[in-house]
């Protein structure tokens, strides 16, 4: 057949083909430094500013933290799915999935940092707010999680009801639990992958496949509660059963976009030749397209059911966003669904590095806006984008990006000794 490419394996696995230049590591260090500086400036501005500025810093940093967390969580979840179904086509792409999800701790640390910062901002702040009365606290207090504010929740019977779940000790226990559980999962997958690379034993592939089946169950439960804790409970009156599905969809979309971008760039710079072909890009493009539609389906269903039933306890969440962030509320369906949908419809777009790379960058940016739209409107005092938003969102995101570049630069780009390597090398889409 005209497509049976005879790969010279030595060439595919040659050092110059499987390693990036040292410049990537340097760029990564630079980006990491920029991100750290951004985040630091945001924190300093929070410290030096008034209550409103403090709240702004917390909200902005939380957006950045969730963005930095969404890529690894998406990559972890999706690679577990691929392990569980014994996929063969992607095994040479696996290394980059591992690179992305190994950095889950950055987002977690930022969330913990935001939590600590809130504690610093508000220790003693409760009394100050009490002076102005509960009404003042309603609008500006240096809290991100309002249910942690005793002034705010005073006399709120809904909070009394939810107290069993939404209380500080349990919240901290859960936070630690997510970190430990995800950490254990990541450590397992990285360990198995290393074992296979070193020994060439096919057994780790089996282990990862089996562990993924159980891992996905644990992953579903932990991400669901992480989404409730770190995003949904910011407005603790509001609730939606779809929220966890939305969180999953949004993580997978962003992770696939990031990974598509990585592979497009590797290809552009002539790395991983023969291992990552247009065929793999095509499949990533299709998956990106599919999950964009899935994201739209989930987001629409959540909005639509609440819009249609029109119950105040649910609609308030959307009303806030529609009223105060109207432009963003319209930008999301347009830019997160319609534009990438139309751009990825032609088959050449999903195969060409240029177009796929562009859509990937586009989706990453819009994903950032999506998370922003979920979290940031909770701060009602400031309804426009400020410099703190800019710094606070980009800070954690850049730290993650920089760390990822450093990690990619420090390791071979493709895994060795995978038993399904031949399938990946000869992978082809016929239709």
């Amino acid at each position: 057949m005209s497509v049976a490419p005879h790969f010279e394996l030595e060439r595919v696995f040659a050092k110059e083909n499987t390693h990036t230049g040292a410049s990537l590591a340097r760029m990564g260090q630079g980006l990491l430094l920029i991100g750290a500086i951004f985040a630091a400036i945001a924190v300093v501005m929070g410290f030096s500013g008034d209550v409103e500025r403090k709240a702004l810093t917390l909200h902005a940093l939380q957006v950045g933290a969730i963005v930095a967390l969404s890529f690894p969580l998406g990559a972890l979840g999706f690679s577990m799915i691929l392990h569980a179904v014994n996929a063969g086509w992607w095994v040479l792409l696996r290394k980059q999935f591992e690179n992305v999800f190994s950095l889950f701790w950055i987002g977690c640390l930022f969330v913990a940092g935001v939590f600590a910062l809130q504690w610093i901002f508000t220790s003693g702040g409760g009394a100050a707010a009490a002076e102005h009365g509960a009404e003042a606290a309603h609008h500006t207090s240096a809290y991100l999680w309002h249910w942690m504010d005793p002034t705010y929740t005073a006399g709120d019977h809904l909070y009394e009801h939810k107290k069993v779940f939404l209380n500080l000790p349990f919240f901290v226990i859960r936070m630690v639990a997510y970190f430990v559980i995800w950490g254990a999962m990541v450590a397992f997958f990285l360990g198995q992958a290393r074992r296979q690379e070193e020994s060439g034993d096919p057994q780790p592939t089996v282990n990862m496949g089996r562990a993924s089946c159980i891992g996905l169950v644990i992953f579903a439960v932990t991400t669901a509660f992480a989404a409730y804790d770190w995003m949904m409970s910011l407005d603790y009156h509001w609730f939606s059963t779809m929220f966890t599905v939305w969180f999953f969809a949004s993580n997978v979309v962003s992770a696939l976009a990031l990974l598509s971008l990585i592979f497009v760039l590797l290809k552009t710079f002539g790395r991983a030749q023969g291992a990552i072909t247009n065929e793999h890009l095509h499949d990533l493009g299709k998956l990106l397209f599919g999950f964009t539609v899935f994201w739209a389906y989930i987001s629409f269903s959540q909005y639509f059911l609440i819009w249609y039933a029109n119950i105040p306890e649910e609609t308030m969440w959307f009303n806030l966003r529609r009223a105060e962030w109207t432009w963003l509320s319209w930008a999301l369906p347009t830019c997160h669904f319609i534009v990438p949908f139309l751009l990825l419809i032609p088959k050449p777009a999903r195969r060409s590095g240029m177009m796929l790379g562009f859509v990937a960058v586009w989706i990453i940016v819009v994903h950032l806006l999506d998370v922003f739209w979920q979290i940031r409107p909770q701060l009602r005092a400031v309804t426009h984008i400020t410099i703190v938003d800019f710094l606070g969102v980009l800070g954690p995101a850049c730290v993650f990006g920089g760390a990822l570049m450093m990690r990619i630069a420090s390791r071979p780009l493709i895994p060795k000794n995978d038993p399904r390597q031949d399938e990946a090398l000869t992978h082809k889409n016929y239709v």
Partner: protein, 526 residues
């Protein structure tokens, strides 16, 4: 040519040497392996392209098997009885059902949702698994698509007869009329009309399009048989027959003429041209592409029937994906319920519907069952977390109220029972899979009943009532099973049960310039 006989499994390294003798004791026929360096074959036995056509067309062109006649007789009788019940309903009115005031939707909606859910597996297998390049689907897609179409027919019956005045059913559609009265496009029930209507039509198109090449195969086989002259005469007739007798008793068999004509018309003159195949494959993948969101949309729209309302227990945002997962769950169970007996009854079917097919389907059942379980838990948690006393009341009523038995039946059948497939033995033992598949079907029926019966405890305790179905309710449901089986048996008798051209396409011999792993670059053909 293509295939690997089970006994050769060790020889080719399918089963790891040293671990077992001969075949893998954990599987039925050695096609399932956990060795990541090997992919089990899709077609077993020593099949050539010719024997594939022979086997699959043989099921149609053989003499009618006696079991088929018996099964058809029973099904048609039950279907007839169900039709009588429907007639009785139309003549008398919906009062013959057990509906009461708070519970104004009874078994009709439960049956509707149940059947539509079952109807989801066909398109899922054809479309989604096609997009994910799961080649093992070729042995079950035709079968499942047929099941889809018949299930949707059964589903459509229930809202159709529930409207009360059946002769006004045309008002479901936007038909211009002089009163300028149009259907209410803001109603989820009207979206159902469009969603289920579209789903039926597109499934039919997809099914038919997939069948065109196979119908052409049947056409050509019938032509060959038609052209053959058959001489009939008593056994004791002198041999050779005198010429004039021979002329009078030798003729073409008329049934092959009818078959050639019927299959010929339906095959649209398909002549296996590669230029045609190019367009055909593109159209097929495009249909798969739109059918995938369509599957999701149909049960989402069905879930909107409940979720757009403000009834406690019905209005929750996770309903769309949760209903879809449940639909796939029940659909796969129904495919297994039909497939496992068919596999025993049709000679040679096991070569195509291998242990790996069954095992994969079991895994999908466990995945979707767990998704459904996850949704149950989410619903429960958020019902508590939301702090709405009505919502909480609805959930307490569900679990501990008058229909507690339905709730626990649902929990057991849908969440607990599919977990058995974590064990290898359970997912590779056909009779056991068959039992679990029936349990799952029952469970999914109860799930819809649990949701619908939330109505009987509405906002005003004074109007609470207990709903129980009447004989007519029950017999209409049983009748719908009869209609389904009747249609399905007709399909098995007259149309190709397996996609012949697709099966040939996944065989080793279908690949030019073979190289070792050519036939499984699937995303995850496990």
């Amino acid at each position: 040519m293509s295939a690997i006989h089970p006994d050769e499994a060790t020889a080719i390294g399918l089963v790891r040497p040293g671990r077992v003798e001969g075949r893998d004791p954990h599987t039925i026929d050695g096609t399932v392996t956990s060795d990541p360096t090997k992919r089990p074959p899709l077609v077993l036995g020593n099949h050539t392209f010719h024997t594939v056509s022979e086997t699959i067309c043989g099921w149609i062109q053989q003499k009618t098997p006696p079991w088929w006649m018996a099964a058809f007789g029973v099904s048609a009788t039950v279907a007839g009885f169900g039709t009588l019940m429907i007639l009785y309903l139309i003549i008398t009115g919906v009062g013959v059902w057990g509906l009461n005031n708070p519970m104004s939707w009874g078994w009709a909606i439960v049956n509707f949702v149940w059947w539509v859910g079952i109807g989801h597996a066909g398109t899922l297998i054809s479309a989604i698994l096609c997009l994910f390049k799961q080649k093992w689907r070729v042995s079950i897609n035709r079968f499942a698509e047929a099941m889809t179409i018949f299930a949707v027919i059964c589903a459509g019956t229930f809202p159709g007869i529930h409207v009360g005045r059946v002769w006004m059913a045309w008002m479901l559609f936007p038909i211009p009329n002089s009163n300028a009265i149009w259907p209410n496009f803001r109603s989820p029930l009207l979206w159902d009309v469009f969603a289920v209507g579209t789903y039926f039509t597109v499934s039919l198109l997809f099914w038919y399009m997939g069948m065109i090449p196979d119908l052409a195969t049947l056409r050509d086989r019938s032509i060959k048989k038609m052209n053959k002259m058959v001489t009939v005469g008593p056994m004791w007739a002198p041999h050779p027959l005198p010429d004039f007798v021979k002329r009078a008793t030798t003729f073409q068999l008329p049934m092959y003429k009818v078959a050639a004509w019927a299959y010929g018309v339906l095959a649209l003159g398909w002549r296996f041209s590669s230029r045609h195949w190019t367009n055909y494959e593109k159209a097929y993948i495009l249909l798969a592409g739109v059918a995938t969101p369509l599957v999701l949309s149909v049960h989402s729209v069905v879930s909107f029937d409940f979720a757009v309302s403000i009834i406690p227990g019905w209005h929750t945002t996770i309903f769309p994906p949760y209903f879809v997962a449940g639909a796939i769950f029940s659909g796969f169970a129904m495919v297994l319920t039909l497939l496992i007996p068919a596999r025993e009854l049709y000679p040679g079917m096991k070569d195509f519907v291998t242990a790996r097919t069954l095992e994969n389907m079991c895994k999908i059942i466990t995945v979707t069952g767990s998704m459904v379980g996850f949704a149950y838990i989410t619903e429960f948690f958020i019902a508590w977390y939301g702090g709405n006393p009505y919502e909480q009341g609805a959930f307490i009523q569900r679990a501990f109220g008058q229909y507690w038995w339905a709730y626990f039946a649902m929990m057991f059948c849908n969440v607990v029972s599919p977990q058995v497939f974590w064990l290898k033995w359970c997912r590779t033992t056909p009779w056991f899979i068959f039992i679990v598949s029936i349990v799952v079907n029952i469970g999914m029926w109860f799930e819809r009943f649990v949701i619908v019966s939330s109505l009987s405890n509405d906002f005003m305790p004074s109007s609470w009532a207990y709903y129980s179905p009447t004989f007519v309710d029950m017999m209409t449901f049983v009748g719908s099973l009869g209609i389904f089986m009747t249609l399905f048996l007709l399909f098995c008798r007259f149309l190709p049960m397996l996609a012949i051209s697709e099966v040939k396409n996944v065989m080793h011999a279908a690949h030019a310039h073979l190289h070792p792993h050519d036939d499984h670059h699937g995303k995850g053909g496990h």
